[in-house]
């Protein structure tokens, strides 16, 4: 094996991929050959580093230099300066916004300081398309030791003692789930991986699959051994072509190395994995719906019991876990349950991956120990609110979760605290909103998502959410009444109590939590007919300031409905009755004379 002096790691996650990281990798490879450095320098495409805001990311080993926002044109300079002359390219280093200092080592960056990477341990370190790099980082060691010990119940006990809970949303204890499935005897059982990440604004699972697919394969094999399944199925979104591509490569490699297939490690245990594709239905994240979808049916949920552990895929006992849950399993077995359970809070152990997005400085993928506060995540890791604006709310849990306000910023994040605060952990989307976000519109955004994605099987979800969306529409158009707010609340409660599946039951959460935390904003829309954030178009009022207006007539000429009147060089006026609030005048005015009220 070649003994390289330098390694150039290039992020190949979706975000960086979209910013030409493939071209960057190609350029590096070309330059390295041109300069005859191929025996000293290795170019590696890796999974997501997490710091998507500053992508594309290039990391140099062994000195850990972290280059941000690299372009294909920068490659030559990096090789010339960093590798040949041993000088860092200052302009590409991360600039700390507070101290205005360049930081070269990611360990010293605010974004990484508070993070602890367990599920993402290999993302950004290894080449996901090379099984040997995974093996070099203790890959498949856990599977080997589990098979050697040949004590499935003992392995399940380890997971139970570690306190691992499902990372897909509900937080059900993983060890217990495996045990329930193990107890049901059957000639065939199935170990299923839920990679149907449907929450808008969440990309944790895809990053794991793109950056470290073998960890999921290894954990599924361990799970298969524990519950007594010889078949594994990954249900993955068809919208994730890169993740599918890498997973396929990984499965082929694992088969080639005898880590999937018959008689793994020379034991009696045989296990293989097949892929099944989702087709864009949010409800398929619910396990019974997912199973129906894998069977080639419409992805509609069915009533539980029977649970999948009793009657799942093709009516056989099946166990469904999410990608991130699986990614934790091999480490727990390698490092022991004592280590894992020492991280986190009393009832939520380990770490959680979040996709941090929205009006925040450092958008990206982060992993923090349970018990980290929202403030630490938003201000220290996330670098605070974009453009110096004021924090308004943070949304967790996707369409099933809620919006949390400033008063929850110091709440330690764990399953139970988030539920007590009126939201939930969910799969890990975390969207930060500033003062310009209208909470009524945000609630409507999530509700419209549910209306579109509702499978239609039960009427509370299908009809109830539609009616709620109509009421919210009425409110954002300035036609709402106080009775509407009451009706909204009642409907939400009925849906919560009567919908068939977990997704339906939690669908009113965004409305309920914004009503709880931003009641005044709802009232402002209904009573004062004002949108405090200035987002709702129908409630906006464009006004010309007569002192600033020069009478240039630019706005009057641009107005599509002729609602602006005035004589040349005299202040103009907008006829509010005729105005359609299109905002054209606001854009045309060169003197900032038009304001929105």
């Amino acid at each position: 094996m070649a003994n390289y002096k330098y390694h150039i790691l290039i992020c190949g996650g979706t975000g960086c991929h979209a910013s030409q990281s493939a071209q960057i990798k190609e350029n590096f490879e070309k330059i390295i050959v041109e300069k005859n450095l191929q025996n000293d320098v290795q170019v590696v495409g890796t999974g997501c580093f997490g710091f998507c805001e500053k992508g594309p990311i290039v990391k140099m080993l062994p000195d850990n230099t972290f280059y941000t926002q690299v372009t294909p044109e920068d490659c030559n300079e990096i090789v010339q300066e960093h590798i040949i002359k041993g000088r860092k390219v200052q302009r590409l280093l991360y600039l700390d916004p507070k101290s205005q200092e360049h930081k070269s080592d990611s360990k010293h960056m605010g974004f990484y300081k508070k993070q602890l990477r367990i599920a993402l341990r290999n993302c950004g370190f290894i080449d996901p398309e090379n099984i040997e790099e995974y093996i070099a980082r203790d890959g498949y060691k856990a599977l080997a030791s589990v098979l050697e010990q040949n004590d499935p119940q003992g392995t399940i006990e380890v997971l139970k003692k570690a306190g691992l809970r499902g990372r897909g949303g509900a937080g059900f204890p993983t060890g217990l789930k495996w045990e329930l499935c193990r107890k049901n005897a059957a000639d065939q059982k199935y170990m299923i991986c839920n990679a149907d990440e449907g929450d808008p604004g969440a990309f944790m699972d895809r990053s794991i699959l793109e950056g470290d697919p073998h960890t999921v394969i290894e954990a599924m094999a361990i799970g298969g051994f524990c519950i007594g399944a010889s078949k594994g199925l990954v249900y993955i979104r068809a919208e994730y072509p890169l993740a599918i591509h890498r997973l396929r490569i990984a499965i082929d490699q694992a088969r080639e190395y005898g880590l999937l297939g018959n008689n793994i490690f020379g034991t009696d245990f045989s296990f293989d994995i097949e892929l099944r594709y989702g087709a864009g239905a949010f409800v398929c994240g619910e396990e019974t719906a997912l199973i129906h979808s894998m069977e080639g049916q419409r992805g509609e949920p069915t009533f539980k019991p029977p649970f999948p552990a009793v009657e799942g895929y093709l009516k056989k006992p099946s166990n469904v876990n999410n990608v991130e849950t699986f990614a934790n399993v091999p480490v727990i077995i390698n490092k022991g349950w004592e280590w894992f359970s020492s991280i986190g809070t009393e009832k939520s152990k380990g770490t959680k991956v979040f996709a941090l997005a929205g009006q925040i400085n450092n958008v990206g993928l982060i992993e923090v120990p349970m018990g980290t506060t929202l403030r630490e995540v938003i201000y220290e890791i996330g670098g605070g609110i974009k453009n110096g604006k004021k924090f308004k709310a943070v949304q967790t849990g996707g369409p099933s979760g809620g919006c949390l306000t400033e008063k929850f910023l110091d709440t330690p994040i764990d399953y139970d605290n988030l539920i007590a605060a009126g939201s939930m952990m969910g799969s890990g989307g975390m969207i930060v909103m500033d003062e310009t976000s209208c909470m009524v519109s945000v609630a409507k955004f999530y509700l419209d998502f549910i209306v579109e994605e509702s499978c239609g099987k039960c009427s509370p979800c299908r009809i109830g959410n539609k009616r709620m969306s109509e009421i919210l529409d009425k409110i954002t158009k300035g036609n709402g009444t106080m009775e509407d707010l009451e009706r909204l609340k009642n409907l939400a409660k009925v849906i919560k109590d009567t919908a068939l599946c977990g997704l339906g039951q939690t669908s009113p959460n965004p409305v309920l939590s914004t009503m709880d935390n931003f009641w005044d904003e709802y009232v402002a829309h209904v009573v004062d007919k004002k949108c405090p954030a200035g987002q709702c178009r129908a409630l906006k009022q464009y006004v010309i300031d007569p002192e600033k207006c020069k009478g240039c007539t630019a706005c009057a000429r641009a107005c599509p409905v002729g609602a602006i009147h005035g004589t040349v060089k005299q202040p103009h006026e907008i006829n509010q009755e005729a105005c359609i609030k299109c905002g054209t005048c606001y854009e045309k005015c060169k003197f900032n004379a038009i304001s929105i009220k």
Binding site: H17, G201, A279, E295, G296, G299
Partner: protein, 163 residues
């Protein structure tokens, strides 16, 4: 029962029959069959659904039920340059709706439609996973990030000029 009249070209129907066979004509594989058929044809016309139903020995209604359930499957042909605007939460709070409006205006299209010349179609999708670049849109496989409404015309022109 009337025999289903299949209006497809023979090479097209042969290919679909081959796809079904590849999955052992197993109804459990219906979604995989539909994926491959859509990859091949670009959409799932009624004739293709009838043929698949016949091959897998299931009612056409069941095939149609599945096609209409999943948003990934479409019964109208997409444009040569399919444009999808991400309406995930991260993009939404960074102004994706305005970008979508700009595309609608520029192409004179509603979401789900294709231009009469067959060049562009417009759809929305939920999260490409490139939230760091929000708001984003995709044209084919290419991702355009950090969009603003005034960048839209330039993107569309890029493809118009290729014609």
């Amino acid at each position: 029962m009337d025999k289903i009249i299949i209006k497809m070209r023979k090479d097209v129907s042969d290919k679909i029959i081959a796809i079904c066979k590849n999955f052992n004509n197993d109804p459990v594989e219906l979604i995989n069959v539909l994926h491959q058929t859509q990859d091949f044809l670009g959409y799932l016309p009624a004739e293709a659904q009838e043929l698949i139903a016949e091959q897998l020995h299931i009612p056409t209604a069941k095939v149609y039920g599945v096609v209409s359930f999943y948003s990934f499957f479409t019964m109208t042909p997409k444009g040569k340059y399919p444009i999808s605007v991400c309406l995930g939460t991260a993009c939404y709070v960074r102004g994706a709706e305005k970008v979508l409006d700009a595309f609608k205006k520029e192409l004179n299209l509603e979401v789900g439609q294709t231009t009469p010349d067959g060049l562009f179609s417009l759809t929305c999708l939920r999260c490409v996973g490139a939230c760091g670049l929000a708001p984003v849109a995709m044209v084919g496989d290419k991702v355009y990030g950090r969009l603003t409404p005034d960048k839209v015309k330039g993107i569309v022109d890029e493809y118009r000029n290729m014609e």
